[in-house]
Amino acid sequence: MKERYERPIIQPQQPYQMNPFGRTAALEAMTAIESVAVSELVAQYGSPLFVFSERSLRHQYRAARRAFTVRYPKVQFAWSYKTNYLQSICAVFHQEGAWAEVVSEFEYAMARRQGIAGPHIIFNGPFKSKAALCRAVTEGAIINLDCTDELETMLDIADDLGRPLTVGFRVNLDAGLPQSWNRFGFNLENGEARDAVRLAVESGKLIVRGLHCHVGTFILDPEVYRRQAKKLTVFTQEIEADFGIELTYLDLGGGFASTNTLQAQYLAGEQITPSFDQYAEAICSELLALQSRPAGFPLLILESGRALVDEAGSLIATVVATKPLPIGMRGVVLDVGLNALYTATWYRHQVIPAQSFSGFMEESVVYGPLCMNIDVVRDTVMLPPLGLGDRVLIKPVGAYNTSQWMQWIQARPAVVLISEQGEVDLIRERETIEDLAHRERVPSRLGQSGAS
């Protein structure tokens, strides 16, 4: 069998000093995903290729659910659709018992198309048209209002239908995060949220059923959740007592971190990302104060997305070119870049060679194939010398990439799902230019340009 050729590299050595960039043993090749060989996957489905592991999806969901259910008696997870739209991925979570959390009319339609019953859809988001709200009301969805304009619209719908409607309110509050998300919902600290509840109650047309609060994204400190839960608990008790209402749910949103490493983060994600149990302990220990309500505990709804799906997704890419960069590093060009890997701008993804290598590393910059200077998958990473046709695995990429990817310069890659038994299913085909063109309507005067 022909041995794999590895390009020689030159490395400066400092005499009498330890070379910090000497031979590293920390990186191991990953030739298979869930025991399915990378080479087989590429042979059958091409490259680049998103690969999801069903076992990882279910394992994460169950771990998250377990962490919360042993600390609080009424827990419901709602899959955050914006994290990953793939129907197969959504179906896995729904099979495990998750409801659907959507942030627009567009996503609402997706959830309904997926077969999710109206009462199991949580309709959030800063833009909900009247038509969308009407549909949600008719189908019994859980609606969390974002602003007074939506509140007015709901009052109109209540008048049209001639019956009271159930609503929830999104609140924003200061949970100690440096950047507080105060553009969504009604502010708690300045009384705006309380006023909104009062407006709803006094109108007589809206029944306030719950609160929704989503404080941030990729939160690495569980104490943020403790503060959030505590403020919400106090607010709940206050509005229930003052307005004589009874909430049935508290939606604490999502924002749990995955083991990805933020660009500016010093320590690797695996070392500092909190476990589900830590998040659960922070949230549930505060919510247990609500035991003495006459109605008992409210339902705790969690809209986690990233933490459930990120680790399940990997991206197989192929090296299409390498070049020595004038700055001294090696440039490695892959067949996929920011077009399908939007999260590369947020995280330092792992880039792992999918074939064995000698162990000598060189400082590399990993680029994508786009003609765009900022199309950088990893900036400064130690990689073995890679050649044309070598495969790499980029992970964890399960969250946001397959919903935020672009149809630009390169066709969007295919997606496969590996089942718990190791069977591979294609869950989304690689796109072609037809996928781009079929929506266009070219006026006849512009016809088919070119040589007549």
Binding site: T69, V70, Y72, K74, G140, E281
Partner: protein, 728 residues
Amino acid sequence: MLARLGTHLKFWYDATLLSYAQILFTKRHLTGWIALGVTFLDFKMGLAGCCAVLASNGLALLFKFNHDTIRTGHYGFNALLLGLALAYRYDLTGSLFILILVGSLLTLLVTVSLTSFMSYYVQLPILSLPFVLVTHLCYLAGTSATSLGLHPKFLSLIGNTLPVTVPSLLEIFFRAVGAILFIPSVEAGALIFLSLLLVSRLLAIFAVLGYAVGVVFLLGLGVAPEILNSGMFGVNLMLTAMALGGVFVIPSPWSYVLAGTGAMLCALMGLAGNALLGSSGLPLLTAPFIMTGLLVLYAMKFREFSPTLQLVTFLPGTPEENLDFAVTQVKRFGSYGGVRFSFPFYGEWTVSQGVHGAHTHKGPWSYAWDFLVHDETGQSFRHTGQQLTDYYAYQLPVLAPADGTVVEVVNWVEDNALGFINTKENWGNKVVLRHASQTYSVLAHLSPKSIRVRVGDMVRRGDCIGLCGNSGRSVEPHVHFQVQSGPDRLAHTLAPTFTRFLQRASADQPLVLVQQSGPETWMHVQNLNADDRLVSALSFPIGKCFRFQVHTATRTWEEKWVVTVDFSGTLFIESIPTGACAWIAINEGTFTVLSYMGHTETALFVLAIGASLVPLTYTEQLVWSDVLPYRYFSSRILRGAIEIVRPLLDLVTVDSQLRFERFADHPLAGGSVTACSVSTAITVKPVVGRWGHRIWKSVIVLDPIQGPCSLRLYAPNGTVKIEAQIIP
């Protein structure tokens, strides 16, 4: 004005007739009418009896004793017996009625006092003890009352001429039956026996059994048969057998044995009593029956529970009713009364050591459970398991398993480092709760300083009492739970009853609803968690109305359901205009239909059999079972046959299997609704052969907002028998 008069009349009607009926252990007006009629076979007896009853009930009303108790005839039947006894002995004179009046008052007072005394101290019924005491007093007093003429001998008004000759054994038997009401004639006895047959075949069987056994016993002892004819000997035998066979004991093969034995004991007592009192001229009346009955019932209280012979601990009815109640209630709900324990944790935990466990749950401490948390691979820790915080169960909230009071708290024992156990402080940190006078529970191996209750605090089921730790004889963080009869640390454990829970063997197995037994080792268990959607779908607040459009193959009608509450506080749904009633209960996270009365072609009937038991925990594809009364599915004639044999054998069993279907869109008239449905398969199975084996199916759609919005019953041949849609 007229309505008030009507209420009064109804009250007197009930109170009077039921006083007559109580003598025969029944609560039916029919028995009362027949007994009343029998007493008037001799006008004097009838009049005296009537006056006594009216006097007693009237005095009770006057003195403002409990209205409902008077209505049940409880204060009247002893007075009735007194009146009959006095009329039997004395002539019809004015003084007789004075004596009856005063005697009735005395009977009333004795009844009230004895009832209170005996129900509080020994929890026994008074039977006809006041009658015996007061009659003796009156007889004794009457010896010096000269204006009371002693009636030499009772002569039947009808005489001894009968159209048909009756075999002499039967004659003796019926005379004995008649003597219950002091009218020892064949006609009276036949009528009374008929009334027993009409109301309860089992009572009639026990009466015959008691008499037969007693007679055989006496003849075996060589006693002269004339004794059987004298006084109330036969009455005592029959009443004893009835009481011990089916009224105060649940009918079963062994209760027949008890009835027979009781009759023999009664005969013995009767002989002894005769010898004792014979010379004094005071008749024994029903004293042997009372003594035997009370002795046996009292002694039986101290047995260990045995399903083959049980006392009636609820409101007694006819033997058939008692048996039906015991069988269906026990089959459906396990034991009645007693503390029911929930698991002391949230979520799903695993039993690492159960009853008769391999390590420490042995011998007198067998009934105990160790709980901890596993992940789906079966590990109780994450990472390497070398730190206490790696263990999933560590520091999780531990809850009170039932309402109770804290009697002991140990909060200072350190958590063991992994690899060490503390055998000096076996229990580690623990909380001991008192739930009832002989029911205590212990939760042990908790984390130091985590217990948040103090001795004397009252806790409710589900309150957090501390956090799971690794203190005491604990290898890894877990919670130890046991129930014992006393608070001390070496007390023997008892077998507790658990509330319904969900169980599965591993993460990929389906959840199963466990209804009677406790959790087994290595099972993953969790409490039922009330799901808000089901709670609101099956909420029946008082006053709520439902309207349905109901179709059968032949008719269509509109049916209205109204939710009300009866005098005992039980919710029931009344179906208008069909008049059917379903008694329901919502407790322990379950909706139950307790019983149903009425026609079987109503929408309410479909609810009663299709949603007879619904746990308010929604788990897709959850399957559970229930038992239904055979009377819903069998004709009257068949029912009679089944009832007679039932103490020995169940001729027909009706089991149902229920299942949740997933939340889906259900089309309804005027739109559609997203709801979950309960589909039920009801199997009517005769014990022998396949004749009569039928399977009914039903589907009930439960909408969180409207409640049960669509009900459908499929006959065994597959066609739709009843279909009902809610009218919003």
